[in-house]
Symmetry: C2
Subunit: 343 residues, 2 copies
């Protein structure tokens, strides 16, 4: 059976306290669209945040981001500003915790994500059912994010209510009786991505209907929170560079990380990467001297033990900067020169 | 304007050498669906692989996966088998390089991805245009994969032809004249995800039409390869554990990694994690002794330098296993006991 993606156009700029349900249904009416049982209403989280008045002063965007951050996953410098990928208080791992400076209608403010996206989706769904007298509607709060390994950004389900966000096929078998390779379809994210094809971003269309996916509207239905993969199941809780820096005691997001220097987004001269690696290595061995000359580092410790620690910390830190060095198996005395090269 | 997602049902099991265009158009005819200019035809890569006869013996699935692997990003043990997330020869980073044992119609074989998905999409598009006499069609080869930080799997664009796979809005500004926060929409992936809402996985519907996204069909149009983020731009080229192991000289996918032991998918007793960390640490300091007793490790080297190297390697390796230890700043002699605890 076919599925229709129907944009809800003509929704005016949303302000704090505005009645989203009235705006959504008004836009539908104006376009002669009547909501039907089984429809999924996909709404950009941005208009929900606006209706909740979730503004913060853009003068201190960094502070706004950190206030929405549970933990920093990765960070890079770009034009003198730090871009952080973080686990947001709203739930998902996103750049800048989803704090949005664009298209907010407030030139001097940034917009924060709803603290509990699933609860907002639930409120919207209950209000839509009440206003329409319908029995079954789904609501997805969509937001936009980049992905590791893939260019560009896609919409995903930040919040959901009344929707089968994960279609768990575990235990199901294929036509040959073999377990399905896909065990759980992230339907919530696919609904959000589909709706983005008609909502777009440049055009101000903050909502769309997905019609024809009634199978995705169970009674009840989990929130989008079940789409979050955290803890042991998350194999990527640190970026590659951040993992080795953290293993050496320099956690991303810490003051220490800024002091030793945060890797750049763009290509970086080897001298800068080497300087950062030395700074990270020295964190654990302040008593050791590390003098850099070109691609050579001269290490001198107060003891052979400290030298072994420093050489190894530098070797690990260099990896995080795409560099490497041959460390000697044994050292005579408390000094050594290491030749650094690209990994 | 609305968008329609139209499943192409009734496509029979595809075999090597079958004419996919005939099968797709036959299914459309049977359902009274006529392709139109501006349609995007989304086809599961699986049926393309079947038509190309890309089978491999499932007896050695591991070898099949490695033959499709450019580099290993992360790996975990699960029920005695290694699950690897790798950069595939087909392009994307995927579990098991996209090698598929389910729903292949050959009980004893596994199915490989097309070597050049964009070229296959281009062949399909050219043949569809010739067979239909239409002027503008897009083709997306879809496949399914999990994502870091998100549960479940979604469809994405493995290959594409005639489609605007990335809608680059860089430089565009919003209504307030501010740069858009979304700079590049991954339209190719959103088309694949949308089509999955009607293709599904359990039901054998390998293709669907996306109708109403004519704006996404530029003349020419890049392949899905532009959706791949690699090299310096990829902040997640190793899993967190794999990054620290690689920094200590134990690359994922190497025989060495199997010898020291690969982390498990599920929860693992501390003793096992500690044993692996010790094995990784010893790789660099074979002359050092590391005796484990409970949560304590007794290290004894032939020299203070070696001890410093070993203590630091162990400290870094422990981080990769979610463990930590306090290392002394200085050691008297060539022995030390370290207390290990959860990180």
């Amino acid at each position: 059976m076919s599925v229709s993606l129907i944009p809800l156009t003509g929704i005016p700029e949303v302000g704090a306290g505005d009645d989203l349900v009235a705006l959504l249904l008004g836009a539908a009416d104006a376009a002669d669209i009547a909501l039907e049982d089984g429809d999924v209403v996909v709404v950009s989280s941005k208009v929900v945040s606006k209706s909740l008045g979730l503004w913060a002063d853009s003068a201190d965007r960094g502070a706004a981001v950190m206030s929405q951050t549970v933990r920093v996953v990765a960070e890079r410098m770009s034009q003198g500003r730090i871009t952080r990928i973080v686990q947001s208080t709203a739930g998902p791992v996103m750049a800048a915790a989803g704090v949005d400076a664009s298209n907010t209608g407030h030139r001097d403010d940034v917009l924060l994500l709803p603290a509990n996206p699933d609860a907002e989706a639930e409120h919207l769904r209950v209000a839509l059912l009440a206003a329409t007298g319908l029995q079954r509607l789904g609501v997805v709060l969509s937001d936009t994010a980049g992905r590791p390994w893939r260019s560009g950004q896609t919409d995903f389900a930040l919040g959901a209510s009344g929707v089968l966000v994960v279609d768990d096929l575990r235990g199901a078998v294929d036509a040959d009786g073999r377990p399905l390779s896909v065990t759980a379809r992230a339907v919530g994210d696919e609904l959000a991505a589909a709706a983005d094809l008609v909502k777009g971003k440049a055009d101000a269309i903050p909502a769309a209907l997905v019609r024809g996916t009634g199978w995705a509207l169970p009674h009840g239905g989990a929130g989008a929170r079940v789409l979050l993969r955290t803890g042991r199941e998350d194999w990527f809780d640190h970026g590659s560079s951040e993992a080795v820096r953290a293993a050496l005691g320099v956690e991303p997001g810490s003051l220490e990380a800024e002091e030793v220097g945060i890797p750049d987004v763009g290509p970086t001269p080897r001298a800068d990467r080497l300087r950062r690696a030395v700074a990270v290595a020295l964190r654990g061995t302040p008593q050791v001297g590390m003098d850099v000359g070109g691609d050579e580092v001269h290490l001198s410790g107060q003891s052979a033990y400290q030298l072994g620690v420093a050489v190894t910390r530098l070797q690990v830190a260099l990896w995080g900067e795409g560099l490497t060095t041959e460390a000697p198996d044994e050292v005579d005395g408390v000094e050594v020169r290491l030749e650094v090269r690209e990994r």
